[in-house]
Subunit: 326 residues, 2 copies
Amino acid sequence: MNEFWKDFPIIQEQLNETCELIKQQVKVRNKEIEQALIDLTFSGGKLLRPAFFFLFAQMGDSQKQDHQQLIKIAASIEILHMATLVHDDIIDDSPLRRGAETIQARYGKDIAVYTGDLLFTEFFELLAETMNGSDFLHTNASAMKRLLLGELDQMHTRYKKDITVFDYLRSVNGKTAELFSLSCLEGAHFGYASKEIQRLAARIGRNIGIAFQVYDDILDYSANSKTLKKPVLEDLSQGVYTLPLIFALQKSPETFYPYLEKEAAITAEQAMELGQLVHTFDGVNDAKDFAKKVTQKALIDIQKLPDCLGKEQLEQLTHLLLQRSF
Amino acid sequence: MNEFWKDFPIIQEQLNETCELIKQQVKVRNKEIEQALIDLTFSGGKLLRPAFFFLFAQMGDSQKQDHQQLIKIAASIEILHMATLVHDDIIDDSPLRRGAETIQARYGKDIAVYTGDLLFTEFFELLAETMNGSDFLHTNASAMKRLLLGELDQMHTRYKKDITVFDYLRSVNGKTAELFSLSCLEGAHFGYASKEIQRLAARIGRNIGIAFQVYDDILDYSANSKTLKKPVLEDLSQGVYTLPLIFALQKSPETFYPYLEKEAAITAEQAMELGQLVHTFDGVNDAKDFAKKVTQKALIDIQKLPDCLGKEQLEQLTHLLLQRSF
């Protein structure tokens, strides 16, 4: 984490405090699980969501802010994210996360189920401490629900040969963009920024979240067009079709159907061919164009924010994250 | 459900309303999952926890009560319980629950993980609707945490040959008694009963919960001493040692160690022998005595409650549930 934020010293310090709080929060009797959760906290995740939270908090009124409350809310966001990671790793049977063994790989799926549940509880506990009586309790409950519905939507459209951009975006909106949007909105709200900034924050967060996920899905198809990364092979065999494939598929269903019909039985070689075809039919380029447009929307909204260090850094961060060259 | 509550018509009606609300609450785009959740709601679970909630609500001030709030809180309790059932079934690899196929068996563990998560969210959403601003938000967060820690404790003591009664009770206190205690306490609190009744409610609920779990564990060893029920065989091979075994084990560790050392490799035949030995060393009788004492404590506390229909029914229900003959 620290390396990534070296040019953002204020944010870096706030994120360090957030990690320390998470470490305090995940204390359980089972020391192995506690250690696994601490490892996950400090394992080099960028803590993007808390970072966006703090950037938007800077646009508020620092006189009114409660520093401890902000740290706790930032921790609640990261803990909710961690809970979904732990459960996602069960679903995906992932051996590694951020270079370290996943909880499901190390301790088994049983413990991973309860560990994720425990993190949901920590999330809930932090909300009870920081926003009891606020409308944001509902906002959080709704966000968590949309996040899970996004995951369920993704499962629901597995192996769906006529999957649409709409299906994809609906799922991404829930599973990724919702939490980015919440992070930005909560930063603005609990930082005492104006209603107008809060409105922009929610929208900027949503667009950044969508672009972030699209670029992430593009990365699986990139490197060079002759190779496919492991995640895309897994995604394909699990029936998860992402934007580059969807764009290509729409141009020539008859080319892709024979591959998709194999479902889980698709071989590595066939997946390679399919990856190649996604490039041939411009799926990767189309997805890049799409992501650029969404990023542009976010950047236009960022321009509308009041001038301050937070705004500058937000712009910088958006470029850093989303204007990657491929 | 209906059959069990036929002598408690008021409770029966309230439980029906609670189930209808849960049905409304679990609406999701994936109709299969929605149906699975509705099936789970109406599949003949006794809804004991909401029932205890309503019984204690009767001891309050009906003039002050908000009927819709009570139904929602009762639903939140049952939904939290359902969430743990869905996740427990993943851990235990259970094919059936209340005679119907479990979500994990029917839709796979992946969907079961998210379905349980979704129920945790529904729980949280109902709390945001009914007790935002109340201290009971913390109470619920803590209860949910203790519940999960109880599950993790049970995992932590798997195959532990020197497991103690304390280990067992600590786990039961969390995984079972906590939610019974919360149900009774919340009924009294949101029913506007006095602080004294609330204090008794929490304690009565806890003791009923403990006795309920101990009897449940005894049932696995009973029927007759020559047979063992399937659950106990599974519990043994999964390293879950319950009170009858723990009591017997303490009297003669050298008798039991050779069996327990086999861990997951214990055969059905060896488990049968072990079940027999639990009887020989009076483990079942000792556990029954223990459960009776705990039930007695609850009944003494119930006597301290003000006279009303709720009190009578609570007594009746406690006898019905916990004074079963073996």
